[in-house]
Amino acid sequence: MRRNSNIFAKIDWLVVLIYLLLVFAGWINIYAAVYDDSHHSIFDVSQKYGKQMIWIIAAFVIGFVILLIDYRFFSITSVLIYAGMMLLLAAVLLFGKEVNGARSWFEIGSIRLQPSEFAKLATTLMVARVLSKPNFIIHKFKNLIHLGIILVIPMMLILLQNDTGSALVYSSFVLVFYREGLTGWVLVIGVLTIALFIASLLFAPIYVIIFLVTSFLLVFIKMAFHKKKAINYSILIVLSAAILVAVNHYLKLGYNSYLLITIPVALFTPFYLYAFLRKKVKAALWIVLIFWGAVGVNYSVDYVFNEVLEQHHRKRINDLLGIESDLQGWGYNVNQSKIAIGSGGFAGKGFLKGTQTKFNFVPEQSTDFIFCTVGEEWGFLGSLFVIFLFVGLLIKIIQIAERQRSTYARVYAYGVFAIFLFHFTINIGMTIGILPVIGIPLPFFSYGGSSLWVFTIFIFILLNMDAHRFELIN
C-alpha cells in the first residue's frame, strides 16, 4: 500500500490533466458528431457516445491498474508481450472479422478489439528493450537489421490485414532511432523522398528534375565549402547525365535528351569549378547517391503509384493533390471535412450546432474525421485548444523522456512520442487537407475502445516509469 500511495505522489499530474482534457473533449465531440434530435442523452449506451463513455470508464480503470504494476514488469516482459502480440496479429488474419474491408478485428461477444492498435505498444516496448541492451550501437549494420525486423514484422502483418494506415505508423520509429544516434540524414532523406514523391505526381518530370538538381546543388555548395577532391565528381556528373539519357532512350520515356544532359552539366559547372579550385570536396559519394536516389524516385513514382498502391490509396493521394476532382469517395470526404472546419470560423458554430457534420453517412465522422466536428462547432479557438493540448503533451513527453535515467525508459518515452506525433500529424493533416487520407485515429478523440485503451496504456506506462525513474537505472 505504501508504494501505491507513493506513486500517486510522484506521477506527473500535468500529463494526467492533459490526458483527461483530451479524453473529455473527444467524448463531447463524438456526441456532437453523432448527435441526432431523437436521441438526446449523452449516456445512451445504444449510441456511439454512450459506448465511448463506457470505454472511457474502462480506460480509467486500465490506467489505474497500470500505475499499480511494478515498473520492472514492462522491461522484463517486453519480448514476451511482443511475441504474443505478433501471434495475435497473425491470428486475426485467420480468425478475425472483416470490417470496412480491413480484416483487423477480433469479435468477442459485442466487443470488438483491434490487435493492430495493441501491436504498437508491444513494438514500442520491444524497441526499447533492444535499444537499451548494453553497448548497443545503432549504426552497426547487424543492429540496424535487428531493429528493422522488429518493425517489419508488425508492418507486414498489418499490411496483410489491409490496414495501410496502421502499418505506416511504424515508420515513426525513425525519430526514436534518430534520438538514439542514427544519422540525421535519415530524416533529410525521409522528407526529401516524400517531397519528391508528391512533386513527381504533381508536376511534369522536367520540373522535378530542375527542382532536384537545384536543391541538390545547394547541398553540393554547402559541402564544397568543407570538402575537397571535387575533380573526381565532375566525371560522375557527366556519367550520370549519360546514363540518364540512355535510360530515357531505352525505356522510351520520351524526354528531351539534350535537356537531360545540359541541365545538370550547365548547372554544375560553376560549382564544380569552384570546388575544383578550393580542392575541398570529399563526400562525393553522398552526392551521387542522392542524385541517383532522387532520379530513381522520380522515375519510380509512376510505377509505385500505378502498380504498388491500391486504387483507394491512389484516389486519396490524387484527391489531396487536387489532380482528379473526385466528389464521390475520399475526395468528397476531405472536401466536406475542409468545408466543415472552414465553416466553423473563428469561434465556431457552437456545441451541437454544426450542420456539416450532422449527417451520419460518413462512417469516419466520429472516428477518423472527428476533428471536423471540433473545427466546425468550436471554430479556430477550439482547434487552437486541441492542437495546443497535443503539442503540449508531446513536449511534455520529450521532457519526461530526457529526464529518464535508463535507456529503456527514454527509448520507450520517445516511442510514445513518435507514435502520438504520427497519429496527430496524419489525422489532423488529413482532415485539414494537407496530407493524404490515411485512416488512423486521433488519440483520445476518435470513437473506438481499442485505440482509446492503447493510448491510455501508453501514457500510463510512461507515468509509471517516470514515477520510478530514480529506481529504474540502466
Partner: protein
C-alpha cells in the same frame, strides 16, 4: 548516450513546427479564407424521401377504380431557412401569415435539421408558380406526393382512404415517418403493404439558392422507390354504383358474392359518402361533418351492422332438421296462425294450413320451423338441451355465423350467437327448446352482419360450401391471398340443399296467388331464388331483409339486402336484390318502373320518427 541529447531540440522542433503549420492552415481555412464558409452554404445535404406511387386498383372487369394524381407538399429544414419574403410566399400558396409562422415554429420544435412538412398537398397549378420562386426561400423545398383519384366515385366503404400516418404508428413501425401517408381504412388499409410499394431516399446537395446541385456521393446512399403493386378487386364497379343508387336515401346494405369463388361483387352501405371527399385537404373539411352525421355514413353497415336474420334463417333451421334426421322434405305441419306453446306463442301470418318444407319456405311459415327446431332440440340422441344447443351452434357456425369470416375487409364484426353459458346465466340453468324457440325463425339472441348473410346465401347456392368472401381477387398478378382459394364446407350434406332451394325458388317464382312471399323479386327469364325476412326493430319500423341467388344451377350471384326501417322483406329488400341480380346477370334492367320506384323512395325519415 548524452552525446545525442541535443537532438531533443530537433525532435521538439518537429512537433512545434507541425503544430504551427497546422494552426496557420487552420487560421487560414477558418478565419481568413471565406470560400469555405460559402462552400458550407452551398453544400447542404438534404435528405429527400422519394415516394413511390401507390398501386392502382381495377375492378373485376378491368375498369380502373383507383388511381393517383400528383400534389406537392411544401417542406422546410429550419436550420437552412434564412430571411425571406413571407407575404409573397403566403400569397403564392394561398395561406395566411400566422399559419405559416405557426407551422415554421412547429417545424423548429420538431427538429432543426430534419425536414418537416409545413403546407400539405399543394395542387399542381399552384406548384407550377411556386417552383419558379422557390429559389427565394432557402430551406424550403417541395416534395411530390400522390393523392388518390376515383373515376367512379363510389365504394368508399370498400376502397377506404389514405391519410397521414398517426403518431402511434410512427412510433411502432419505423417504415413511416411523421407526415407520411398510410392506408387508413378499406382495402387501402388491408392491402397497405402491397399498395404503398417502397419509398426511396435521395440525398441531394443543395446550393445557397436552394437548388439541387446533384446527388450526394453520387447516389451511394440513395435507395430507389419501388412502385406499389396493383390490385384487382372482385367488385363490379357498375354493380356497386347501381347498388349505391338503389340505396339512395335509405339506410342499409347490399352484399353480393360470386358463390363459385367467394368474390364480393358489390358491398354497398348506405348512407355513404363519396371517396373523393376524403382525399387530401378535402378530408379535413369533410371528415368532421361525416363523423357527426347521425346517420353514420362512415359506419360500414355491410360488415359491421348486426341484425337478427329473421325468416332468412329458416333455410338453416330446415337444413339442420334434415341433416339431423328430424325432418323429411315431405313432412307436413299444420299452422293455424302460429305456434302456441305455454312459454311464448309465436304468431304466423295467414296461409294454407298444411305445408311441406318447400311450401313452408315459400310462404315463410313460422310454426313449421318451430316444430322443426323443437324436434331437433328434443331429439332422443341429446342428453340435455345443452348438448342439443351445442350441436345446433356447430351447424350455425359452419355457415360463417357468429365468427369473423376472415375476409380482407377491415373491421368485420362477428355477429351474435347465443351460447350455452349465456342461457344458463339468463335462465338460471332452466331452459329448454321452447325457451329458445324464436331462434328457429331468426329472432331472439341472434344477430348477423349483411356480409355473413350473403355468405350464408352463397353457401346455400353452392349446396354446402363457401369460399371466404374477399374483395381483392388479384394482388399484383399473383392471384388472391391463398386462404381465399380454400373451400369451407358446412356441416350439412349437399343432398339436403335441393329441398330448401326449392322453397326459395317457390318463394320467388311460385306465384303471388300461391302464397309466394317474394314474387316481387321475380325476374323474367332468370331463375332467381330467394327468401324474405323481417328483423324486428324495437326502435322503429322493422328492417326489411332479403337473401337470394341466381340462377338455379351454377349460381353466379348470391345476394343479401337489408334495408332498415323498411318493413317487410318483400317491400324493399326483395325488389332491390332482384334489381341487383338482374343488373349483374343481364347488364340492363328492364323493370324500369320498379327501379324508379326504388330509387325515388326515401326511407330516411322512418327511423328517426320513432326514436
Amino acid at each position: 548516450m548524452q552525446k545525442y541529447s541535443n537532438r531533443k531540440f530537433v525532435i521538439g522542433a518537429i512537433a512545434i513546427i507541425i503544430g504551427i503549420v497546422y494552426l496557420s492552415r487552420l487560421f487560414w481555412v477558418q478565419v481568413v479564407d471565406s470560400t469555405y464558409k460559402l462552400n458550407s452554404e452551398k453544400n447542404s445535404i438534404r435528405r429527400e424521401e422519394q415516394f413511390s406511387a401507390r398501386g392502382l386498383v381495377f375492378d373485376r372487369n378491368g375498369e380502373l377504380i383507383v388511381h393517383n394524381m400528383a400534389v406537392y407538399d411544401l417542406m422546410i429544414v429550419p436550420r437552412q431557412v434564412s430571411q425571406f419574403d413571407t407575404v409573397e410566399l403566403c400569397q403564392t400558396i394561398g395561406i395566411d401569415i400566422p399559419f405559416l409562422r405557426k407551422q415554421i415554429s412547429k417545424a423548429r420544435r420538431h427538429s432543426m435539421f430534419k425536414s418537416y412538412k409545413i403546407v400539405h398537398q399543394i395542387p399542381d397549378t399552384v406548384y407550377a408558380v411556386l417552383q419558379e420562386k422557390l429559389y427565394k426561400y432557402p430551406g424550403f423545398f417541395v416534395q411530390a406526393r400522390t393523392l388518390r383519384k376515383y373515376p367512379y366515385n363510389v365504394a368508399a366503404n370498400v376502397l377506404g382512404y389514405v391519410s397521414e400516418v398517426p403518431d402511434r404508428i410512427v412510433k411502432r413501425d419505423n417504415y413511416y415517418k411523421s407526415g407520411d401517408y398510410i392506408g387508413f381504412s378499406g382495402i387501402e388499409r388491408s392491402y397497405e403493404e402491397v399498395l404503398r410499394g417502397k419509398k426511396g431516399v435521395q440525398f441531394n446537395l443543395i446550393d445557397v439558392h436552394n437548388r439541387k446541385k446533384g446527388s450526394y456521393a453520387n447516389g451511394k446512399y440513395d435507395t430507389i422507390p419501388q412502385i406499389g403493386g396493383n390490385l384487382v378487386s372482385s367488385i363490379d364497379i357498375e354493380l356497386q354504383q347501381y347498388g349505391e343508387l338503389l340505396l339512395k336515401d335509405k339506410i342499409g346494405s347490399i352484399v353480393a358474392i360470386e358463390p363459385s369463388s367467394g368474390e364480393i361483387l358489390a358491398l354497398v352501405t348506405a348512407p355513404t359518402y363519396s371517396p373523393s371527399d376524403m382525399v387530401g385537404r378535402l378530408r379535413s373539411e369533410n371528415y368532421p361533418i361525416l363523423i357527426r352525421d347521425p346517420l353514420k355514413p362512415l359506419f360500414n353497415r355491410a360488415t359491421m351492422a348486426q341484425y337478427p336474420p329473421g325468416s332468412t334463417f329458416k333455410m338453416l333451421t330446415g337444413l339442420i332438421g334434415l341433416q339431423e334426421k328430424v325432418l323429411t322434405p315431405s313432412q307436413h305441419y299444420s299452422c293455424y296462425g302460429g305456434y302456441f306453446s305455454k312459454a311464448r306463442p309465436i304468431a304466423c301470418h295467414h296461409h294454407r294450413p298444411s305445408l311441406d318444407l318447400a311450401e313452408a319456405l315459400q310462404m315463410s311459415c313460422n310454426a313449421y320451423f318451430c316444430h322443426v327446431f323443437r324436434n331437433f332440440m328434443e331429439k332422443p340422441g341429446f342428453a340435455n338441451p345443452d348438448s342439443a344447443l351445442t350441436r345446433w351452434l356447430k351447424h350455425v357456425h359452419s355457415f360463417g355465423f357468429g365468427t369473423h369470416l376472415g375476409t380482407d375487409l377491415e373491421s368485420e364484426l362477428k355477429g351474435i350467437l347465443p351460447s350455452v353459458e349465456s342461457y344458463n346465466r339468463i335462465y338460471n340453468g332452466s331452459w329448454n327448446a321452447l325457451t329458445l324457440l324464436s331462434l328457429s325463425i331468426g329472432q331472439g339472441e341472434i344477430a348477423i352482419t349483411p356480409l355473413q348473410l350473403a355468405n350464408y346465401t352463397a353457401a346455400i347456392a353452392n349446396r354446402g360450401f363457401y369460399y371466404t368472401p374477399h374483395i381483392i381477387k388479384d394482388i399484383d398478378g399473383n392471384g388472391p391471398i391463398d386462404r381465399f382459394k380454400e373451400r369451407k364446407y358446412t356441416t350439412i350434406d349437399s343432398a339436403y340443399f335441393e329441398d330448401v332451394i326449392k322453397g326459395m325458388y317457390l318463394a320467388v317464382n311460385g306465384g303471388w296467388g300461391n302464397g309466394g312471399t317474394a314474387s316481387i323479386a321475380q325476374i323474367n327469364g332468370i331463375d332467381f331464388n330467394g327468401k324474405t325476412g323481417t328483423a324486428q326493430n324495437p326502435h322503429g319500423e322493422n328492417h326489411s331483409i332479403f337473401v337470394g341467388f341466381a340462377p338455379l344451377t351454377n349460381p353466379k350471384i348470391a345476394i343479401a339486402v337489408i334495408v332498415e326501417n323498411a318493413g317487410y322483406g318483400s317491400t324493399w329488400a326483395a325488389p332491390i336484390a332482384s334489381l341487383m341480380a338482374e343488373k349483374f346477370l343481364t347488364d340492363t334492367v328492364k323493370r324500369k318502373s320498379l327501379e324508379e320506384r326504388v330509387v325515388n323512395k326515401n326511407l330516411l325519415d322512418r327511423g328517426e320518427k320513432e326514436q
